[in-house]
């Protein structure tokens, strides 16, 4: 099978170039300055407006299967990832049963393969059994089963002693731990960010300090153990500052934020908009700008989706009873491109934050656009305008504050396993 990409803007680690690419038998066989003969090619892409990126990996996804298939299942979730432009997703363990033993891990990997959707599923194992915050999972066995990291995402490991042992034990197997950093006594029963808007709406607030303390605790314990940790969904100014400080001191820490935290603020919940009810909650404009600065100066390594599908019934209800979370796989590309349009990031930064860094953090081979490398590519039309709605979204759920809004930019092709997929 021969695939030809002519006249494309190619985003590599050394820069952005106009190149022509020949793919043969799953491998990038030639990258040249002059157009490649399209004769005999089974698939030709020739559009000077397109951007060719190393394939994107979302390292923070909730696919809900097993247990919550009415929200999303592995098939619809992977399809959503595929149409969002991803070649891989790392999926969180808060399923039912929890991914805390190899049986569940195997099930997830097999289900993903059965779907035939060209997105690799990388399971993240729980840190503690049943996310109970008390007993460690069998990390060694889970790693053998295919788990790429450990996380009790959705909650924080409250007991610092247990967290310490988890970091140390995971380090034994050279496995990263992903921390959902939250001081859960402070955030208990909270609905939205604490401040003027929580007072206005009469909803219990989640103080920013719940995240700040959580991040500080997790970083401090990581410093004690020397383990590699990754902080999930950073949403506060001080959270970014703490990570910057610990990184400067040489701690092996990485972190991610999500498009919602650099795009939206707590104002989005006005009118009791349950689609904007997420955890960590949308914060203030000051936090949003600090997250953007963290992305710009490299403190924030990764942009992840925290794709959290929920059934409409779980959102179309009283605010207090609505579930936390929003979908994000298919809105990732346009929202990240907005950072480029604003001049905050360039295309190279996007390749770092959506492809190279997440692969590296999870100890996976990051796709390279180089002769002789496997061809795993995400090809983007940065100008395409589209509306987020039930027809355009492939996830089983549509819980997103971007619903019915127009966005700019979309993944147009994905190349994976020697095949080219046209997405629209």
């Amino acid at each position: 099978m021969k695939i030809v990409i002519n006249n494309a803007t190619v985003v590599t680690s050394s820069g952005v170039f106009r190149k022509n690419i020949l793919i043969k038998d799953c491998v990038i066989s030639k990258i040249s300055d002059s157009p490649i003969s399209e004769r005999g090619a089974s698939f030709v892409i020739n559009d000077k407006d397109l951007l060719v990126f190393p394939g994107f990996l979302d390292m923070h996804t909730h696919l809900r299967e097993p247990g919550f298939e009415y929200k999303e299942d592995i098939e619809t979730g992977l399809r959503s990832a595929h149409y969002g432009g991803f070649i891989g997703v790392a999926v969180m363990a808060n399923t039912n049963p929890v991914n805390d033993c190899s049986t569940v891990t195997h099930f997830m990997i097999c289900r993903a393969k059965e779907t035939g959707i060209p997105v690799d599923l990388y399971p993240i194992g729980a840190i503690t059994k049943g996310l109970n915050g008390e007993t460690l999972v069998e990390m060694g066995e889970l790693r053998s089963a295919g788990v790429v990291a450990f996380s009790d995402d959705g909650k924080s490991v409250t007991n610092s002693e247990i967290l310490r042992r988890a970091f140390e034990y995971a380090e034994t197997f050279n496995m990263p731990v992903i921390c959902h950093s939250e001081e859960s006594y402070l955030s208990k029963d909270g609905q939205i960010n604490e401040g003027e808007i929580s007072l206005l709406l009469g909803l219990k607030g989640i103080p920013r300090e719940a995240e700040i303390l959580g991040i500080y605790r997790d970083l401090t314990i990581a410093k004690l153990t020397g383990g590699a940790i990754h902080i999930a969904h950073v949403s506060t100014k001080e959270g970014v500052e703490l990570i910057r400080k610990f990184k400067k001191e040489g701690l092996s820490v990485t972190c991610e934020t999500c498009p919602q935290y650099f795009t939206l603020t707590e104002k989005e919940v006005l009118g009791y908009n349950t689609f904007a009810k997420i955890n960590p909650p949308l914060r203030t404009e000051e936090d949003r700008l600090a997250v953007i600065e963290g992305l710009r100066d490299g403190t924030i390594d990764v942009i992840a989706s925290d794709h959290a599908p929920h059934h409409l019934d779980e959102k179309n209800c009283e605010f207090q009873n609505a579930s936390f979370g929003m979908i994000g796989l298919e809105t990732m590309v346009p929202l990240c491109l907005e950072l480029v349009r604003m001049g905050i990031l360039d295309f190279k930064d996007l390749a770092e934050k959506l492809s190279r860094r997440p692969h590296r953090i999870l100890n996976l081979n990051s796709p390279k656009i180089k002769e002789g490398e496997p061809a795993n590519l995400t090809i983007i039309d940065p100008h395409f305008e589209w509306e987020v709605n039930e027809k355009t979204i492939h996830s089983k759920s549509i819980n997103t504050p971007f619903l019915n809004k127009k966005l700019q930019g979309k993944a147009k092709y994905v190349i994976k396993g020697g095949e080219a997929f046209e997405l629209f």
Binding site: L199, L200, G202, D313, E318, F319, Q320
Partner: protein, 317 residues
């Protein structure tokens, strides 16, 4: 008093936050005219015959419900009560389903109370019925604020430019919020008084002043509104004991001296006597607590009439 060019065009009454100054004055004036005509000649009060209201209460309340019921019945509207224990809510029916069912019974208006903030707003978005918020969680209780404003206006001769203190658990109080929003729209000075656990500083962002002792907070005020202390807050460390709360924040014969000589004392009820307010003050000559209750019916008549007839009530005399 009413401006002739004013036209009411809201389907619902969800809170005072959304109301303009004109809308607030319009409702107060309508309530006043209704009250006057009612006292003169019952037959001349316009009716809401053929209209029907449902009170849907997910939280027990005799006072507010009775007040709405009386307001409706006096205007010949049919009023049906559905309360949480009697309704299907216990069977797991969602609120939305309950409202859709009520809608199907060709009702004109639903008066809702719920312990979660925002529920009336959620309902209002999902129904054609007029929705009246009779109290949602810690959010708003607009008819209570309107009756408070009407009481103040009757006793003080104006509802603008006054100094008003609200004392107690502001954080969890829908009465406080609706009053703050409405009173600030009418250019009043609003002091919020209570321990810091009940009065976070961010309330200043709504234009109110924050005080943590009665001496400063009540100093020179025309009106003292005392809120009911919810005893379950004690278990959550908002205050240590009732004894200590009463010692520092009870409005009593001593602390009332900080207010103006002619200040009036209000309370939305029901009262914890001897806790947030002492009996001598509650039953004393400054107290207008029972006057508030009377005005509650007139205000709710005005709200029902305005939302259901859409028109202005003209006193034919």
């Amino acid at each position: 008093m009413q401006k002739d060019n004013f036209k009411w065009n809201r389907k619902d009454l969800l809170g005072t936050y959304d109301l303009s100054k004109e809308e607030i004055i319009f409702l107060l004036d309508t309530a006043k005219s209704m009250e006057e005509v009612l006292n003169r000649d019952v037959k001349k009060v316009p009716t809401l015959r053929g209209k029907s209201c449902v009170t849907l209460f997910y939280e027990p309340s005799t006072r507010t419900r009775t007040s709405f019921e009386l307001a409706g019945k006096t205007r010949s509207a049919d009023t049906i009560n559905i309360s949480v224990s009697a309704s299907s809510a216990v069977k797991g029916e969602t609120i939305l389903d309950s409202v859709k069912n009520i809608e199907a019974m060709s009702v004109d208006c639903v008066i809702i109370r719920h312990n979660n903030s925002g529920v009336p707003h959620f309902i209002a978005r999902n129904t054609k019925l007029a929705v009246i918020n009779a109290g949602d969680g810690s959010h708003e209780h607009p008819s209570q604020a309107l009756l408070d404003l009407l009481t103040i206006r009757d006793y003080k001769g104006t509802i603008e430019g006054l100094n008003i203190a609200i004392v107690g658990d502001i954080l969890h109080s829908r009465v406080a919020r609706s009053n703050i929003f409405a009173l600030k729209k009418l250019n009043n000075n609003v002091n919020l008084v209570g321990p810091k656990t009940f009065v976070p500083k961010d309330f200043e962002k709504f234009g109110a002043n924050v005080f943590h002792n009665l001496e400063e907070g009540l100093s020179g005020v025309d009106v003292v509104m005392v809120l009911r202390l919810q005893k379950e807050r004690m278990g959550k460390c908002f205050y240590p004991t009732e004894r200590e709360y009463a010692k520092f924040f009870s409005v009593n014969r001593q602390s009332i001296k900080y207010a103006k000589e002619d200040a009036i004392i209000m309370h939305p009820g029901p009262v914890n006597r001897g806790l947030e307010i002492s009996s001598d003050v509650l039953d004393g000559e400054k107290s207008v607590v029972l006057a508030q209750v009377t005005r509650g019916v007139a205000v709710r008549m005005a709200v029902l009439y305005t939302l259901l007839s859409g028109g202005r009530f003209e006193d034919s005399n």
